[in-house]
Symmetry: C2
């Protein structure tokens, strides 16, 4: 067999969830994990430190293309491999924008894409001025290293960020201040793009966050007019093309009270907002990502059912195993599709998710939340 070989850096749940479609399509998936016993252990072929170029180079020899479970591989490592002819998807030039929120804001600005007001912050005075100009409050972010609500803070005065301002070098020399958007809800536009250009968006979804972590996804987003759907798909296409993203791209957006659609965050990989697509779409984000990074034709992203609802299973301290709750959850919720990531629990950690597809959004939500509640009770 002239096998298709994909190497995934990172052994988290995203690499884990790429494994089923890889099996279906006979794609030889290999994972470089940080440690033994990761969430993606079944597909792990190498354990090592992804910040070491020699480690990643050795791993790259065994595959046709390198892609990612996360966005934390140092650009220098990827640039070195690209210079040696390794196919890295998305490429380092795109990941540069995922790794640095300030670079991302500058690039989106150059592309004329809609986003919250923002400013580069290097001192307390500039920050206080930004806060004052935006109603006495701002969102302050470290440009590098943040995820799931980490590296993000609501500030009402520069004194709320004196620790960050005093250690600017470790955040790349600047902070990013953003307008605190008065939003009615959060939306996410998932899409995929091949290196050769084909672009395929999924229907727009609504995401519901709790404590900065995604909790529920409603697919499609309810009550959105066609103009908005066209607009969000167009935004995703502009981002993908303008930043040179390949594979799956998630564009997280605010729907502001004043009607503006504003880009919040980007993820250049399969994303929590797209887990619904495993059961909810003709082609899941994990299959599509594999197809895209191999530059194979993309599948249909059309829905398989009128509604899909995904509910995250967030870890609860002291409850280390919801597999033991399967009997109760599966008996009460026979439509629920349960995904368990094989991770040890800690409070707030993404341990799994439940998706229900149905003709009725209310039914799907009730069943997904019902199953989730039983599982988390343990």
């Amino acid at each position: 067999m002239g096998a298709l070989r994909v190497g995934v850096i990172g052994g988290g749940q995203l690499a884990r969830m790429m494994t089923p479609p890889a099996i279906n399509l006979a794609i030889d998936i290999k994972v470089l994990a940080e440690a033994e016993g990761s969430s993606a252990a079944l597909a792990t072929t190498m354990v090592g430190d992804y910040t070491q170029v020699e480690v990643v180079r050795e791993f790259a020899k065994s595959v046709d293309v390198i892609t990612f479970d996360h966005e934390h591989v140092p650009l220098a490592v990827l640039e070195a491999l690209e210079a040696e002819g390794v196919s890295v998807q998305p490429p380092s030039k795109a990941l540069a924008f995922a790794q640095n929120k300030l670079a991302m804001r500058k690039r989106l600005g150059a592309l004329g894409l809609p986003m919250p007001d923002w400013a580069e912050i290097q001192d307390a005075e500039t920050l206080d001025a930004f806060i004052e100009a935006h109603g006495g409050v701002a969102i302050l972010k470290t440009p590098i290293g943040g995820y799931d609500g980490k590296g993000v803070r609501v500030v009402r005065s520069a004194s709320d960020a004196s620790d960050w301002l005093g250690n600017l070098a470790q955040y790349g020399g600047s902070l990013l201040a953003e307008e605190k958007v008065d939003f009615v809800r959060e939306l996410a536009q998932l899409s995929a793009r091949r290196p050769s250009g084909q672009f395929e968006p999924w229907p727009l979804v609504q995401t519901i966050q709790e404590n900065g972590v995604c909790s529920v996804v409603l697919a499609p987003a309810p009550a959105v007019d066609q103009a908005t759907l066209d607009r969000t798909a167009e935004i995703a296409k502009s981002v993908a093309e303008g930043l040179g993203v390949t594979g799956v791209l998630a564009v997280e957006m605010f729907e502001a009270r004043d009607g503006r659609i504003l880009i919040n965050e980007l993820a250049m990989r399969p994303h929590n907002s797209g887990h619904f697509s495993i059961e909810g779409s003709v082609t899941s984000q994990f299959e599509q990502h594999l197809r895209a990074v191999l530059d194979l034709p993309l599948g249909s992203a059309a829905p398989r059912a009128a509604h899909a609802v995904m509910v995250n299973l967030l870890g609860v301290d002291g409850q280390n195993d919801f597999v033991q709750a399967y009997s109760g959850a599966l008996a009460a919720h026979p439509e629920a599709k349960v995904h368990t990531y094989g991770k040890s629990a800690r409070a707030g950690r993404k341990m799994g998710h439940v998706t229900v597809v149905a003709d009725s959004a209310e039914h799907a939500l009730a069943e997904a939340q019902g199953a989730s509640a039983v599982l988390l009770r343990g």
Copy 2:
């Protein structure tokens, strides 16, 4: 984690296709394969001879339940393990009927279930009398060892089977003669049953065979009245309970020209007639099999779409790789879900399959056959 551990004997495509739902549910799937590099290589934890009790015993120590990719494990091996307290699902007492078609006919007869006329044959005279009583033709089967059209022959005289009649001992001492049913089509009723009794049937499907091998499956079977649907589900339940089957059971049936529904063959494992369920059902046969053998509550077997059509990819000699045809097939058929088993090709071998789900059966069939044609062209 108090992991759920399932051991599958046999490294074929059925074990391979159990792997994705095992990943989803964090079920620790382990495969005992006949050789390295099997279709289920990713989940293979042991390579060995499943006819040796010491091999299977050693494998069984690593799991909570033993189940199967095929029905060929010697009963004596399974009986020995059961006597030692190993959970074998389906149990040896059920598999006895899958391994011996004559024992199966006798048991179905005792249960009063509908099937073709049949007779146990130990000599030419009895066979000729059976042929004469059934219009000059009969189907003759070796009770043990047949599959996919092997061990089955159309006979018009005992002289057509002199080789088998002269070597009766190697077929268990008898042959099985069956009425050659004048059927209008073939149907299959897939179901699952837990050791503790829960039973869940999928909707009835129609199977289309070519040269004794399944070629196309239409789900649901078109133009079947409710009485027949009720009847076929009831037949499957009677078989599962009457033969003590656990896990997935496929009951292959003839719809005779005179209207009778007659049981043809049984398979006590996920079956080709149920591959459509991966995309076509809320719960696939592979997930349901894992849940059933672990005695977990069964999932909904309801359809996800109005129609699902599955087309087998049967090997063509001299064409050893349809992965190279992905570009053409996936570009032309973005709705097609391609499953490739990672097996080397030989003529007629099941190499993969394509499923399309759609509102229209005609569209699903055209797309699945279209994708299949491109893939097989290579």
